[in-house]
Each structure stands twice: as structure tokens, then as C-alpha cells.
């Protein structure tokens, strides 16, 4: 007992414990998770608090919500189609929803196609009038797309400026300017290689491919699609050609279209991940109705031992996005609710009742304002786009939805209704801060569901 009473031993162990919890040490996390395993079972004794917290979701017209979700997903999928009629003519498109970026290869996207049978490796990929890349592989139910920004990507192009024409090859980033990607602004400059006429220093650059050796016309399907504006970069004695693109490579790639050869057998322009499909959702059991730290907004749910919940998976009441799975340990999982600082999601804003949407990029939870409203932070670009949308119809309501383009969260889940600015000093639209207030449904902790990707099964 003398050893156990030793204050020095207590102090040494305390310091060791604190030092090992400052940063994530896998062994320490696992040991502590094992220690806390009984928590998963004793938590059942606290279920009365979940029942007390459980309350009916505020009267939300579910039919309106379903219509809104369908409209925003249709708008996102249709927004990939070219605006120039000549770029549509004679071509067949298959909409693809971006699911993720390939790990450690941000210039490669993983997408789910609305019709897998029509897509082939090598097919060009476009976004509105712009060429964005090529299908480069298939991984299970997902297709990999190599973006034109990838270092080794090459596409034939033609630059026209008044009467001058130059043929060139475009692909990869001009390294000197690639840091601009970090801002999220659409100011990426692609590398232009081997221009046939170096005197051409400006003009619009469009894809101009020739059929490959096999005679297959796949490569030429994207002919005429825009790459950007030619510009010349002088660096010391070197004069380098670049192509400034107008695509938002950071946050604008929620959906893309593949130019396919055959007519799609199934559904060509419908979003691939369907949030209305009940089989894609699994019911969750809440262990707690809140947490002990008032600056966080999380709750605990039961994890599934055979198939742990995916980090980042959407947690919903119906089509109302409530939060995302944050982490799992000791048979439990944390869910970061909308107002939690750890909550982040790609979002779009929609003028309610219309198909007008604006991509906001990543939004982040800043905390709860009151019972119904949460505060969200937008990027500078996202805020600009939201203000542009609001100005188009100042009296219309604006609804924020998930944009998809990340694993675990399909497009078309409602975040909430944008609250109008009350004064210029308010941290909402119209204020200086990049913060908006959003009114969302009350979370009913007894009726939560979690999103399953298609290759997962319900627990």
C-alpha cells in the first residue's frame, strides 16, 4: 500500500499520461480505449437522458424537403452540361458525382458515375464548357479521373488570337503559380508546352486532339472545349506559355460529365449517390444527448463492432444533415453536430424553390447561436458567391445543402435556411465576417441515421 500512497509515483504517472495525450500515440489511444470499454455498456443506464432530450423534429414539410433535395441535386448534375450549344451537339454525357480526391494525389478524383456501363477509361471529362481531365481507371464502383492539372497529363490544344493560330500541348501546372491553388480562387495557370508559334501570346485555348493510332475517336470528343486563356510568363530570360483556367479546382468540382461513346443505358444525368434511397442509411443508437463541454456540440452513438462507422459519414434526421461521424473508440463513435467546431462540409446555396445554386466550398461550424440557429464560417470565395446569389433575388429564401464531392456525404442533404442580416454589425450575410447564421431542424437524437457508401451493408 505504501507504493500506492506515493505522491511521487502519482505525479510521475500523471506527467507521463499528460505527455502521451498531447499528441496522438496509437498505443496510448488503444490502451485508453480498452480502459474505457465498459463505458459503452454503462452508458445504457443514462438512456433516460436521451429520452428526455428526444423530441419531435420541428414541423418540417418532408415533401418540400424531398423536392428541394431533388432540385438541388438535379441542378448540380445539370450544371456540368456545356452552355455553348455546339459543345452539346452530337455528344452524350454521363454525370458523375465526385466522391473524394485520391490520397496524396490531389489531381486525381474518385467519382461515381450515373451509368457505369457507358464509361470507358480514356473518355474525356468536362465541366460546363471546360475540359477538366480524362477517365484514368476504375476502382470497384468508382472511376478515377486524372485532372488536366496533373503533372503528366497532356492534351492537344489550339490557341486563337485574332488571325493567329498556335498549336500546343497543355497539361500540368506552371510550378511558379501552382501555389495560387491554396487560395481556392479560380486562378490556376496550366503549363503550355511546345507552342507551334511562339509569337502567339494571348487568345482562347481550346482542346484540339487528333484520333490516336488505333483510330478511336474517344480523344477527339472533347475538341472545342475550353482550357482557358493563353498568357506569357516571363521569368528571367525564359518566356513561358501558360493557360489561365476559369475552373475552381479546389471547391468547384462537385459533379463532372464524362463524354461517352454510347447512349447511356440507365440514367445519364442523375446524381449517382441517391440520398432518398433508404438502403443507403442505417439507424443509429444514441448513447448521449449532448456532451459535458458547452463549447462543443457532439453526441455519442453506438459503433458497430463488425463494420465500424466511417469517419466523416453523414448523420441525418430524414434529409436534414445533423452532423458527421468524428471518431470512434471503445465501441462508441462521436458525432460532430452542425454547430461543433470540428464540423466541416462542402456546401451549396440554393435560392429556395428554384434551380439556382452557388457552390460555397467548405463551411465550418462555429457554434450554436440559439435553440434553432447555428453559426457557420465560409471561405472568402464562398462568401462572395453567397452574396452574389442573395443579390440576385434579395427577397428569396436561401437554403444551404450538402454539395457531395466527399466520401460519406451525398449531395442534397439540407443544412438549413440562411438567416437574413439583422444589421451590418451582425456576423451574417452583409457583415464583414465570413460567417452566416443558418436555421436548422432540431436534432431528434432518437431517430438518427448514418450514410453507407454502396459497398457497405447496414449493420
Amino acid at each position: 500500500m505504501g507504493v500506492l500512497r506515493s505522491r511521487t509515483l502519482q505525479l510521475v504517472l500523471l506527467l507521463l499520461c499528460l505527455a502521451l495525450s498531447l499528441r496522438r500515440v496509437e498505443g496510448m489511444e488503444q490502451a485508453c480505449a480498452v480502459l474505457l470499454t465498459p463505458a459503452r455498456y454503462v452508458a445504457v443506464l443514462a438512456q433516460p437522458f436521451v429520452w428526455l432530450r428526444g423530441r419531435a423534429v420541428q414541423a418540417e414539410d418532408s415533401a418540400t424537403l424531398v423536392q428541394g433535395s431533388q432540385r438541388v441535386r438535379a441542378a448540380l448534375a445539370a450544371a456540368v452540361l456545356p452552355l455553348e450549344p455546339e459543345l452539346r451537339a452530337g455528344r452524350t454525357f454521363v454525370a458523375c458525382e465526385v466522391v473524394a480526391r485520391v490520397e496524396r494525389a490531389p489531381d486525381r478524383l474518385l467519382v461515381r458515375a450515373a451509368d457505369d456501363l457507358a464509361v470507358r477509361v480514356g473518355d474525356p471529362v468536362v465541366l460546363q464548357n471546360h475540359y477538366v481531365g480524362r477517365v484514368s481507371g476504375q476502382h470497384g464502383a468508382e472511376w478515377e479521373i486524372e485532372l488536366v492539372t496533373a503533372r503528366d497529363h497532356r492534351v492537344g490544344a489550339i490557341a486563337r488570337h485574332e488571325d493567329e493560330i498556335a498549336r500546343l500541348v497543355v497539361g500540368g501546372l506552371r510550378r511558379e503559380l501552382s501555389r495560387e491553388r491554396g487560395t481556392g480562387a479560380p486562378a490556376v495557370v496550366l503549363a503550355a508546352h511546345a507552342p507551334s508559334d511562339r509569337r502567339v501570346r494571348a487568345g482562347e485555348v481550346r482542346v484540339q486532339e487528333t484520333p490516336d493510332a488505333s483510330g478511336a475517336a474517344g480523344r477527339t470528343r472533347a475538341n472545342g472545349y475550353k482550357l482557358g486563356e493563353l498568357e506569357v510568363l516571363v521569368e528571367g530570360a525564359a518566356v513561358l506559355h501558360g493557360v489561365r483556367t476559369q475552373v475552381d479546382w479546389e471547391h468547384g468540382l462537385h459533379h463532372v460529365a464524362v463524354l461517352v461513346d454510347a447512349a447511356p443505358a440507365q440514367r445519364g444525368m442523375v446524381s449517382a449517390r441517391e440520398p432518398l434511397d433508404a438502403q443507403r442509411w442505417a439507424a443509429l443508437m444514441s448513447l448521449s444527448a449532448g456532451n459535458v463541454w458547452s463549447h462543443r456540440e457532439t453526441l455519442k452513438v453506438v459503433d458497430h463492432p463488425q463494420r465500424p462507422l466511417r469517419t466523416g459519414a453523414a448523420v441525418v434526421n430524414g434529409l436534414q444533415l445533423c452532423g458527421r461521424v468524428l471518431a470512434q473508440s471503445a465501441g462508441m463513435a462521436d458525432v460532430a453536430l452542425l454547430g461543433d467546431p470540428a464540423f466541416e462540409v462542402e456546401a451549396v446555396a440554393q435560392l429556395d424553390g428554384t434551380s439556382e445554386v452557388a457552390a460555397l466550398g467548405r463551411v465550418r461550424g462555429l457554434g450554436r447561436v440559439n435553440d434553432t440557429d447555428v453559426s457557420l464560417e465560409l471561405s472568402a470565395l464562398g462568401m462572395q458567391r453567397l452574396q452574389d446569389l442573395v443579390q440576385r433575388a434579395p427577397r428569396a429564401q436561401v437554403v444551404l445543402w450538402s454539395a457531395g464531392s466527399e466520401r460519406g456525404v451525398p449531395a442534397g442533404l439540407r443544412l438549413g435556411l440562411l438567416q437574413p442580416a439583422r444589421s451590418t454589425s451582425d456576423p451574417v450575410v452583409g457583415g464583414a465576417a465570413r460567417t452566416v447564421h443558418v436555421r436548422s431542424s432540431v436534432v431528434d437524437v432518437r431517430r438518427l441515421s448514418v450514410w453507407l457508401e454502396s459497398n457497405e451493408e447496414a449493420p
Binding site: R5, C17, L20, R23, R24, A39, L45, A289, V292, A330
Partner: protein
């Protein structure tokens, strides 16, 4: 260890679990001023416990708080260890039976647990393997307000918590 003592430990854990559940429920209404009921109860128990009781108080308290704490397991265990160790330290200096002693113990216990959760969360976020928001003035204000409300609760209800039924076997230390 006697059967009565083991039973008391289980009763302690159930009380703690309910306190944490109530705390999470009150958080909706009281916000930053929500008292850390579970830690106040732990302080009340530690006031009458011996030094070596820390070895079982820490895991039991961490297990009971785990369903309501958004921290990662090691942060929760480390924070609980720190909070109870600090409470033990304060008890040695102040009279734990008095109103001031109870309030001071509760304040430092709650403040240290909350600060630890925030600091370690911020450091992990900086490393890219955490998700907390980092340190801000709002968090420090929360530390102070949660500490003060907990201190007030301990001053008013500390005596009741120290004599909860079923915990008699844990009260080994005389005043």
C-alpha cells in the same frame, strides 16, 4: 477490498453517469454556465478519500464521463487524472469540509479538466490529427464560467453530494 467498498464504487459510477447525463442535458439551457456536476461529485468523494483511492477514482470517473465527453480516450483519461490530482492537492491545503474549500476544489478541478481538453485538442489539431477548434478567448471564458458555476454548486450542494447514499464505504478519511 471489501464487498461493500466495491458496491460503493459501482454506486459512485452510476451517480457520476447520471450527473454527466444531467450536465449534458442542462448544457442546452445554461450554455457556458453549465456546472460540471460529475466533477463536482468526484471532488465531493475525493474530499473524504485517501490518496491511494486516486488509482480507482480516475478510471471510474473517466468511464462514467466517456459517453458524454467529445475528447479522445487518452485526452479524457489524462484530463480526468489531472483534475482529480489537482483536487487532491487543493484538499491538502484547504479544509474540504468548508464552503470555501469545496468551492475552490471544484473550481480548479473543472478548470483544469476543461483547459486540458482544449489545449490538447488544439495541439492535436495543429498536428493534423485533431479536430478541435483550437484556443480562443471564448474557450477561456467558458473555462471561467463553468468553473464559477461548478464552484457555486459545490458550495451550495457539496455537503449533500458528500453524503449521498451508497457511498459510505468510500468515506475513509475523517474530517
Amino acid at each position: 477490498m471489501s464487498g461493500a467498498r466495491i458496491l460503493s464504487m459501482l454506486v459512485y459510477m452510476v451517480f457520476l453517469l447520471w450527473c454527466a447525463g444531467l450536465e449534458a442535458l442542462l448544457g442546452d439551457t445554461l450554455g457556458a454556465w453549465t456546472p460540471a456536476l460529475s466533477l463536482v461529485l468526484a471532488c465531493a468523494v475525493i474530499a473524504r478519500a485517501e490518496d491511494e483511492d486516486l488509482w480507482w477514482l480516475v478510471p471510474l470517473t473517466a468511464i462514467a464521463r466517456a459517453p458524454f465527453a467529445p475528447d479522445e480516450p487518452s485526452v479524457l483519461v489524462g484530463g480526468t487524472f489531472l483534475a482529480l490530482w489537482v483536487a487532491l492537492l487543493v484538499r491538502r491545503v484547504l479544509d474540504a469540509a468548508g464552503v470555501l474549500g469545496r468551492a475552490a476544489t471544484a473550481f480548479v478541478c473543472v478548470a483544469s479538466a476543461l483547459l486540458w481538453s482544449t489545449v490538447s485538442g488544439a495541439l492535436r489539431a495543429a498536428d493534423g490529427d485533431g479536430t478541435a477548434s483550437g484556443l480562443s478567448m471564448g474557450v477561456y471564458a467558458t473555462v471561467v464560467s463553468a468553473g464559477l458555476s461548478s464552484a457555486l454548486l459545490a458550495a451550495v450542494l457539496g455537503g449533500v453530494l458528500q453524503s449521498l447514499p451508497g457511498l459510505a464505504a468510500l468515506r475513509r478519511r475523517a474530517w
